[in-house]
């Protein structure tokens, strides 16, 4: 077929479709929604997976995180006087030192102690997570300082009342003015202490909070206050009184978390059994810790994502299939409606092939137009979600190509039958058709 006549067939196709704007629009709608859904769903999935992967990467692929976990109630070690019962469990300082001494491949061990407190500045009183840790926390977690400096060795040694706030908390607490060198009060159940703000930190990924605690409303607390571990123990102790559950519970946890850095991700896998062995030595089968291995989670997440993507493609294929059947249905109706036109064209010298091409192109126009609108719509939605709603949404090239490719394929496959049917009409019968 010559190029110029192809252009003309396309023009005629547009004219025919314009003749029934509503019908063409509705027919395209199936395609638009199908393609839109493919792109949007993939983009949302991609965004969520990206966030999760970043969060895990922030923990570090060569790291292992050991957390204190309250064991089953019958195994809890209770210690009581005067009606006050305390639950004692979790990681100890001795665990941290044993790991660094006995497990091969360990480069650094970072102990972390966390309790929920309130932080007060002037009239503002904010829920926060108080974290006692060592000066190398930022390097370990790949967090970066926004202002000031992080805690140092001297402060650790002297148990000084210095603290570092997360950016989000600083914004909430100081509402614009400079928090550096300001004084804040950290109030727990039993004591309140004054601290001096010496730095603002931004953790690598928002939401990658240490123990993923939720506040009353179920939101993840993103307000962290870092103080030297020694200060923490000296001022607040390891007794944690939790009021938020409704009933009073008192727990003694020496360390909330131990982070262990290995030389490489491979060494992590080799060292895991030894790590467990080192921890279990003093525990007599009482498991009050959990080990999080980011590299494993990352791999699992990637596998999960591949499964999700495949599933999404199946759903997309089904929706496009439904769209395609809708298009075929309309094209069959169109062929019937335009039987006389087909007869006239045949009488004017159109071959069967000419008629096939004409109807196939009309179907393709519907599909491509619908596909294009769907792609633009999906892209627009993703843009709005990403830039205006600030939810990570990533439009992948392959989803656009796949959606487009599928819509063309649907057009060809579902257009062919009506087109052939049109072409094979007997011209005499077609002409007689009123």
């Amino acid at each position: 077929m010559r190029g110029s006549s192809l252009i003309q067939i396309v023009q005629v196709g547009f004219k025919s479709l314009r003749l029934h704007k509503l019908r063409s629009g509705l027919t395209m709608l199936g395609m638009i929604i199908g393609v839109w859904a493919v792109i949007v769903l993939v983009a949302i999935g991609e965004g969520a997976s990206h966030d999760a992967q970043e969060a895990i990467k922030a923990l570090g692929a060569q790291n292992v995180i050991i957390r204190s976990v309250k064991p089953m109630s019958d195994k809890v070690q209770l210690q009581g006087r005067d009606m006050e019962w305390e639950t004692i469990y979790g990681l100890k300082n001795s665990d941290a030192s044993r790991i660094s001494k006995t497990v091969p491949g360990v480069i650094k061990v970072l102990p972390v102690l966390t309790q929920r407190k309130n932080i007060i500045h002037g009239k503002r009183d904010v829920d926060c997570q108080l974290i006692g840790t060592y000066p190398y926390y930022p390097e370990f977690t790949q967090s970066k300082m926004v202002a000031g400096t992080f805690l140092n060795e001297i402060e650790e040694a002297r148990k000084e009342n210095s603290c570092v706030l997360t950016l989000e908390l600083a914004e909430k607490l100081f509402a614009g003015h400079n928090p550096l060198m300001e004084k804040v009060v950290i109030r727990g159940f039993e004591s309140a202490q004054v601290f001096r703000v010496k730095g603002i930190i931004q953790e690598r990924v928002e939401g990658a909070k240490l123990p993923q605690q939720k506040d009353v409303l179920g939101r993840t607390i993103s307000a962290n206050v870092f103080i030297p571990l020694s200060t923490f123990k000296a001022l607040f102790g390891i007794k944690n009184i939790d009021r938020s559950v409704g009933s009073l519970s008192v727990e003694r946890v020496e360390l909330s978390e131990i982070r262990v850095e290995f030389g490489s991700a491979e060494e992590v896998m080799e060292a895991l059994p030894l790590l467990r062995e080192a921890l279990d030595k003093t525990r007599r089968g009482n498991v009050d810790y959990e080990i999080q291995v980011p590299i494993n989670e990352l791999n699992a997440l990637k596998a999960q994502k591949a499964r999700d993507t495949r599933m999404l493609m199946y759903i997309a294929c089904i929706s496009l299939l439904v769209g395609g059947i809708g298009i075929m249905n309309i094209m069959l109706a169109t062929v019937t409606e335009r039987t006389q036109e087909i007869g006239v064209r045949r009488a004017m010298g159109a071959t069967q092939r000419d008629i096939t091409v004409q109807f196939l192109i009309e179907t393709l126009i519907l599909c491509l137009l619908g596909g294009s609108i769907g792609v633009c719509g999906g892209w627009g939605f993703a843009w709005v979600r990403h830039h205006l709603l600030h939810t990570t949404t990533i439009v992948t090239e392959w989803s656009v190509l796949a959606a487009f490719g599928l819509s063309v394929t649907v057009g060809l496959v579902f257009g062919l039958y009506p087109a052939r049917r049109a072409a094979l009409l007997d011209p005499i019968e077609a002409l007689r058709h009123a």
């Binding site: 003309q8 004017m348 010298g349 069967q352």
Partner: protein
Amino acid sequence: MAKHSIIQIKDLKKVYDLGAFKVQALKGLNFDIEEGSYTAIMGPSGSGKSTLLNILGCLDRPSSGAYILGDDDVAHMDDKELSGVRGSRIGFIFQSYNLIQQLNVVENIHVPLFYQGKDISDHYDHCVKLAEKVGLADRLDHRPMQLSGGQQQRVAVARSLVNEPLMLLADEPTGNLDSSTEQEILDILDELHGEGRTLVIVTHDDAVAERAERVIHLKDGLVDQDIRKGAAKAVAK
């Protein structure tokens, strides 16, 4: 007559196989049509008139016999070849005009050329000239819906001329028109005949047949009468 025959029909038969029985629609026709002649084909329904029209228009193939159009026997051509013949040698004029709704006047006139791979941009002037010829110079970009029946049939006439066919084949060209419009169309056909074009009109309307110089009457699939008027016409008047 020394005129060259552009159509030769020899022992043309058409049998419709309806499964249980066969219907012989044409039982062996023989006639020639000369270049520049004006022929009407008449006959009651069931006479084989429509069947003959379809075969003459290369829309259908005879069961046996020869149909020589120009220099070729088109009786046994395949669908693709017949499409080519329709597009290049025959100009159709239908009872119900049969214009394409989504195209305007000029585009409708161009349709037969389109299927010969000829671009409208190269033949636009030619199409416009034909529209002017049938008196539609001021309606070039109108759609069929915006035209009266008579105007639509004029477009159809212009369309039938665009490919310079060997023969204009009209099927009840005035069947849907009122009598004054009918006269206009018949006048245009007379004019075309005057220019030397070959016209074949299938009709059951005596008023239409009267304009022709020759009337072939069909009856039961055979030629019943073949009247060449010429001098006789003058006598009758």
